[in-house]
């Protein structure tokens, strides 16, 4: 016999208790600390900070622990927490030219002021599982030397002196704020970049890759990729000047793209730009490629109908918190909608059946 379902509340509580137990896992194994996650899973921490739009490695590590390593779930925790934070103001724009670079490479010039600095990269590692790590992860100190001092000029500045690359006009208009205003189309470049920097890494990578394979091709050279820390300054009205309030690690990618000219623009190199929290270079390069693809209109290029050129398509689908929420909501009950569809299909089938019988009789 049917009994109306009761006790949803208890079922939910029990599910949460089970989840907590599963998160902790086998209690014979030492518990993971926030400090361990922060120090040893730092690239995961970086991704959570970047897509969570909140620069706080400890909170990101906590979110990863709570989310059992599901990074999108961790990003979600950070985003929800971020909603509750008061907004004191905005920082001055950070100066990436003054970055203390851990890594700085250019794919367009063999050597250049500031030099090529490989930094801590996977790039030339052979991807062989290191079984030694399974037993003992201790390593000897890496060789070190004093850091270079002074500004590291941007590669694109050299090209700009010759007028070979499009100008990036100086613009002091306050950028729109994606987290305080609804995203509306058309979106200017500042808003697009804001959406891309917190966009899902996988989605951005896929779109960027599609431009390389010909869906809106805009052959990109990595003019420069730099990773390092920059000071963050904030104007304090009571003091009347800006003071340094901290440092953030950023990854910046500037691409130099082929461009043979259009109806409105002369032949010159064009720019794509990526700037992301933390050491997140796959994301920063992807962002730069997608940024460049989205700029077709202002450069007078043709819209070839490629997904990466379509700002509405890209921006409305790039946020993994929106996407995962809506996707997973189809797990929720849909008894009512399904029931109405059942009735409709039954009715249509009944009528189609009756028609066939009639046709057979005729």
């Amino acid at each position: 016999m049917y009994v109306a379902v009761k006790g949803g509340e208890r079922a939910i509580e029990n599910a949460h208790a089970w989840l907590a137990e599963e998160r902790r896992g086998d209690t014979d194994i030492a518990e993971l600390s926030i400090a361990q996650i922060r120090a040893q899973l730092s690239l995961a921490v970086n991704r959570v900070m970047a897509e969570g739009s909140l620069y706080d490695p400890d909170l990101a590590a906590l979110a990863i622990k709570q989310a059992r390593g599901d990074l999108i779930e961790a990003i979600f925790l950070i985003r929800a927490y971020r909603t509750t934070l008061p907004r004191f103001g905005a920082s001055e724009p950070v100066d990436t030219g003054a970055m203390a670079c851990d890594r700085r490479i250019s794919a367009t010039f063999k050597d250049l002021p500031g030099g090529q600095v490989l930094g801590p990269t996977f790039d030339y590692t052979h991807r062989l599982l290191d079984f030694k790590l399974a037993a003992d992860g201790e390593v000897a100190d890496a060789p070190s030397r004093d850091a270079e001092t002074g500004n590291v000029p941007h590669v694109t500045e050299f090209l700009n002196r010759e007028g070979l690359i499009e100008e990036a006009p100086h613009d002091d208009t306050p950028p729109p704020d994606l987290t305080r205003e609804p995203l509306e189309m058309p979106a200017d470049r500042a808003l697009r970049l804001q959406a891309l920097t917190r966009a899902d890494e996988g989605f951005t990578l896929g779109l960027a890759y599609s431009t390389q394979r010909g869906y809106g091709r805009n052959h990109a050279f990595v003019g420069e990729l730099r990773i390092g820390s920059v000071p963050v300054e904030m104007d304090i009205p009571e003091l009347g000047f800006a003071v340094e309030i901290g440092e953030v690690i950023l990854t910046e990618c500037e691409t130099v793209n082929q461009f043979t000219g259009s109806k409105t623009e002369p032949p010159q190199f064009t720019r794509g730009y990526g700037l992301v929290f933390g050491q997140t270079e796959r994301k920063a390069i992807s962002m730069a490629l997608v940024d460049r693809a989205l700029r077709w209109e202002e450069l007078g290029e043709d819209n070839v109908g490629a997904p990466a050129q379509d700002a509405e398509f890209v921006l409305y689908h790039a946020d993994n918190i929106q996407a995962t929420g809506f996707l997973e909501h189809i797990k929720l009950p849909h008894y009512v909608d399904f029931q109405s569809e059942l009735e409709l299909v039954r009715k249509l089938r009944r009528e189609a059946g009756a028609q066939q019988v009639q046709e057979a009789a005729e």
């Binding site: 016999m1 049917y2 109306a4 379902v5 009761k6 006790g7 949803g8 509340e9 079922a11 939910i12 979600f76 985003r79 929800a80 971020r82 909603t83 509750t84 008061p86 987290t179 305080r180 205003e181 609804p182 995203l183 509306e184 189309m185 058309p186 509405e312 409305y316 918190i321 929106q322 995962t324 929420g325 809506f326 996707l327 997973e328 909501h329 929720l332 009950p333 849909h334 008894y335 009512v336 909608d337 029931q339 109405s340 569809e341 059942l342 009735e343 409709l344 009715k347 249509l348 009528e351």
Partner: protein, 283 residues
Amino acid sequence: MTEYNFAYLDEQTKRMIRRAILKGLAIPGYQVPFASREMPMPYGWGTGGVQVSAAVLTPKDTFKVIDQGADDTTNAVSIRTFFQRTAGVATTTATSDATVIQTRHRIPEEPLHEGQILVYQVPIPEPLRFLEPRESETRKMHSLEEYGLMHVKLYEDISRHGHIATSYAYPVKVEGRYVMDPSPIPKFDNPKLGDMAAIQLFGAGREQRIYALPPYTQVVSLDFEDHPFEASKADHPCGMCGATDSYLDELIIDDLGGRMFVCSDTDYCEARQAAGHKGKDAA
């Protein structure tokens, strides 16, 4: 959860949402963009409704949450608990006792009265979305009152199937102006939208839209003179309370595919059973 503000959102955010609600009430059926916040539940799980509820709730309110008509479905339980924790408001399952009712996919069977607010969770607020995927285009179509595409779609349904093949989220026209998505309620509920005594507010969190129907608004389900709109439901009485006028869920009750039909509105069904009504499957 004392560290959070009343009803979770800070006052400035609530103010922003209230402004969108007021604008929506002033232009019934018009989708007002609003800066939806990331809530501690996923997008697609009622964040629009939750933000609207958070903006309208006062400490004196009595709150009811239904999902698919039921107070006891998991997500309804979760949202109700959220506001118990963050707003400390009284909650109820009785439709008539509630001052604010948040709903997903149903309008309660019992007619609502003045002073009540019905808050809908909306997944896709744009009724033209599946005809035109671009927001920039659909906004233009609304501003020009260009609804031909929708009528062509309904006409094509009739010519192909003999009926309009939309059974839920059935589009309506509000006060002769905006075509509006009533959220995925079954079309059985559509006639209740118009001339309702309560305020109806629609919140779409992920899509960042709020729209509204003030009390006693004219709401007409789209149709054709020779194919008038028809509210439909399963052609059975409720197995538990015997009601013939309520929307029914179909349940499979044994391995042989035996079925029974029960009110989707659990409060309505329980109240009728308490009043002595009995369906054929009741114990």
